[in-house]
Assembly symmetry: D2
Homo-oligomer: 165 residues x 4
């Protein structure tokens, strides 16, 4: 992994206010993988006292994004296209760990999967499993894309579907 | 929709600390559907200045859960099994609206989908589309399930897979 | 919709041997949507006497692909990136209908969803719901892409993940 | 794995006409996993000469189902609730192998994932990755469920959504 990727992965955590506000931390990463963790506070709960599905989805999505970012050429960045997550067990543990691994890093698309794990006395147990597709986009030299970039990528020269269903 | 469902849907919003902390509001609901909205503040952003995918996933998941809860018998509650979301456009609008609709409400499983929409001058535009499966679980009389309930539902009498991959 | 798209959609059905062997028929289409149907024969069953999930997935995937193809510029074609399908009801009806609609047609990615419906006396009932992402790829002048094309698109200049997990 | 599971997994292949017609073979299985393979014939192609996504989805779905079936109590069977599959590379190889592994086997739901692999000179390469949720249903003593069973499981006592969208 070159320095550009290293900087990009770190920026993805430094610059994402939402992720910082939840307390998600980057613990380690390499070419094609990333590990993060979160200390579970009461504010992250849903109505049954478990960690909200949205927290697990955020954790998985951001960790997948960072794993993907560790594989792109120097002038590229990534953005999530879609994400699926299965909730295998209720999560009510003090610390959750997420490990994302790139399955395939292509020129325009990157496929990543992530496991969310809880520490138990008897060992780590899987709490959720996610699979995500990311799009490779141009890197904004100031370190972040502005909206016009993604609009450029997504907008069709032919037509626009603006279904308001 | 009977009173039990009405109370359940409202509780799902009142008791979910994470959802309240993001500012997600219940705007309206009926039997088999639910609408919510969120005012987008800078804390909800990711590294490119867009709303974080995790916020959209939380919004969609919680709205799907409430739509599902509007359809269950009086002694039942719901919990998310899995969720998939596609990000159709970057979301950088001041207000996002989410509408979830139940596709099929069964005895043990409920299938729901949700659209996240942004208000533009030219009308509402779809930003994300989610599809989710929820499990119907016993309602805890104190208004929330404790973990043993979901553990009971998920734990196999035969074996336990605790893969830590 | 221009003639190029009309030809492309028709070719997608004529040239797909697997789809023809199942008896999937193109019934109608326009810009951004496609409708197909299948007459259910015993060979399409799974072990419980229902239509195999694989048949429904094939029907949904191919109809999504055609809807997407109706929206691309003249020198472009489409290929499925990922597909999710929920099975809402058992399907044991003589005829199934599939309707796919494009949610968003971008320069490089197209988002489509499809419903599989069964005719009942009391009206059409939804049997399955799918959501799919497709990639826009160059159109091979001879009417079909060869493998090197998709390889070109997916292969990273930087690295290759060949996980055999 | 007890004899009941062994019989069930074998039946899932013997009794699924569609799967036999594609030439999908059960190669090996154990408690919580299953391996299958398919010899790729021209009838399984789509319009670009690759194996149709529907074939890969059928292969993954059926192998996931069998892995799940290897974990249920003796009077139980399984049925697919939902399935997501990502297509990582074009598949144009003579033989494809699928390996499914159970992530979590619960009383009512089973979570499974599957990789579709192609043999290359340089080793096995991953072509597709699927994740699926299955429902645990009563086993029909005659070896197959009739439709009323699944209807019983899915039909709500409260309401029926028969959206024909």
């Amino acid at each position: 992994m070159n320095d550009g990727n290293r900087v990009l992965v770190k920026q993805i955590f430094q610059d994402a206010k939402f992720v910082r506000s939840l307390g998600i931390e980057l613990t380690s990463f390499g070419q094609g993988w990333c590990e993060t963790q979160i200390a579970v506070s009461p504010t992250l709960q849903q109505q049954h006292g478990f960690i909200h599905a949205g927290v697990l989805m955020t954790l998985a999505d951001h960790t997948c994004g960072s794993a993907a970012a560790s594989t792109v050429p120097e002038d590229r960045d990534v953005i999530t296209v879609e994400n699926k997550i299965s909730f295998l067990r209720p999560a009510a543990h003090p610390v959750l760990i997420c490990r994302a691994e790139v399955l395939r890093s292509g020129k325009t698309l990157i496929f990543v999967e992530a496991a969310v794990l809880a520490e138990r006395k008897e060992g780590r147990v899987i709490v959720a499993k996610a699979s995500s597709t990311l799009s490779v986009i141009p890197l904004n030299r100031e370190g972040r894309q502005n909206m016009s970039l993604r609009t450029m990528i997504l907008s069709s020269p032919v037509m626009k579907y603006s279904s308001d269903r």
